[in-house]
Amino acid sequence: MLKEILKTIHESGYFSNGALAAELDVPIEVVIDAINQLVRMGYIKKHERETISPPSCGGCPHSQSCNKEILITYEITEKGLETV
């Protein structure tokens, strides 16, 4: 299952947990768990967002926009690429 998930997301460039769950015929929670497992095992890496909050941001009304996470992205590591 993990290999299938890795291959699918590598080929399509995106994934939705719902679509993967439907494709693999497993509950969505299992897919979420599997993605986390792949991250933990070092096959994919989640891009963590750096929080921007220098002192000058305090008065800026857009300070929340700078730290808003609109897009969650991952990267397949070398270990993951070797596997797929």
Partner: protein, 672 residues
Amino acid sequence: MSNHKIALVGNPNSGKTTLFNAFTGSNQHVGNWPGVTVEKKEGILKYKNKEYDIIDLPGIYSLGAFSEDEIVAMDYVLSNDADVIINIIDSCNIERNLYLTTQLLEMSKNVVLVLNMCDEAQKREIKIDTAALSARLGIPVVTAVAYKGEGIEDIVEAVIKVIDDKKSYDNPVVYNENVLHHIEHIEEILEGCTLPYPTRWTAIKIVEGDNHVLEMIDECGLNEETIKQIKDFHKFHNKDSFELEVVDSRYSFANNVARDVVIRPEKEVKTITDKIDKFLINKYLGIPIFAAIMFIVFQTTFIVGEEIFGGLAADLVEGFGGILEGFLVLVNSPDWLVSLVADGLIGGVGAVIEFVPLITVLYLMLGFLEDSGYMSRAAYVWDNLMRKFGLHGKAFISMIIGFGCNVPGIMSTRTMENKKDRMISMLINPFMSCGAKIPIYVVFIAAFFPNHGALVLFTLYGFGILVGLIMAKVFNNTLFKGESSYFIMELPPYRMPTIKNVLRNMWTNVYDFIARAGTIIFTVVTLMWVLAVLPTSADPYSKESFLGMIGSFLVPLFKPAGFGTWQESVALFAGIPAKEAVVGTLGMLYAGEYMEEGKILVDVIRQHFTHLTALSYMLMVLLYTPCAAVLGTIGRETKSIKWVIFTALYTFLIAWIVAVAVFQIGSLLGFS
């Protein structure tokens, strides 16, 4: 004789702590596991005149070496300190929880499985064949609703039976032939060795390539030959592929067991999110659908923000201005003060404030789109196109943020690990038309394109994106050669936007707009007014004023683009500190003309521009040098004045070329 020990193991939120509290009541204490910061909870269960020590292990999803919690739990389970392990699982998420169960079974420990939250499973019409589950796993299975105290006695009875039976359980987890062959091979190597952990489990972990166990092997006093054989195993075989196969086998086992014993209600396999995504992220339909959605946003903005509420705002500003001017005249205020207030502040700042309703509607709609989860889809559909220009979907997000204000748009490029991607995204962000430019467009649209407001606005935004993409391609081939980073986007499920989030997003942008009107624009317009009324020897607002002289100096630069008056030139100059100041300055400079003659600014603009010059002026505003705040942000993010100067100059050059080309070609073709 010491008490029997019972350890509680389970996923977070499976009800483990509730069960622990139900067992121990107030007979519990909390400490830390030695050497780590992980909490250790212990208590005493008193049942039928006997006492049992209960240890609540940290909530974990699996037993590995990926976190302190996992290592603590794994080491404790393997230490043989506990006589029985109670594995609590959430009955509604049995597939996910069973992964941990398979790992416990591999350790050949006495396990009692507790299906907790049965009431919730019943509500969701999930049926679990507990007898079949027990047979498949080879361990006792008990149902419970821990928070209600149901099933507690059954659990204790099951645990006592396991202790009394002293039965050992076979590991039912099935690995594929290839993995099984290697596990058995390692078991043979380890035969006869004194290990701190069960041989079978150690063999599985060695094949899996578990670093924690491999380190243990080095330290547990095995003979050199044994250690060499184990190390040779990893030398000749790809450690990583076995790791995935072993983990996959556990998932497959858990899913197969769940499939056999769990009956869920019939439901559609595909979610609504996936059905919608079939169209929204379609290779061919994705971008046209995005364009259509944005057109609807602009159309709604114009109809509601400008046509319905815009006039109301203008009347309010004009009325307030009239009252204020009247008051100042009544109290015999000096002429310069009346002029400052009427022409400078009301004419200038007021001209900007009139657009608050329009800005409000625009950001309400964009906030709705963002909170719904659509924007990540938009980033995905644009990713493919943007890669042809040397960018990718993350840059699209910075562009979307830039539509509000380019400052956070540029700051958001910090999410890009690749320096090339980041630099290009920063340099093209000023082409994303920010909210501050909207008042300028709206005045000209109202004057010359009143029936096509949404289309003109949509075209301007689209043209800004196009210029941005073209410049990205140029930068990719010249200044910043190299490959873009490759990444995968997660598309979260769509959700109903919450009023709180949508209003917060709207308020952020509206507040910024109003705050800037009250501060920067107020300052700029006041400064412009001072320059426009000095020297006292010149007529106020005339070519001979300081402002007139600056404007006249700039006229030759802008004449080829069709707007050759000093007022139009100096208004662009005023847009460097803040873009809203363009309208503010035009409003202030023409205020005498339109307020005295009872006209509105739009009428005056109509007299000083043509359709063609209005278009070239809007294009100039769209593309030229960004405001001081944006330039400052580029300087801070790049830590280089070089890029600030470069941005200021290259954007002006692009804007000038486009504006001049549009005017000259338009003139040749006979448009006016």
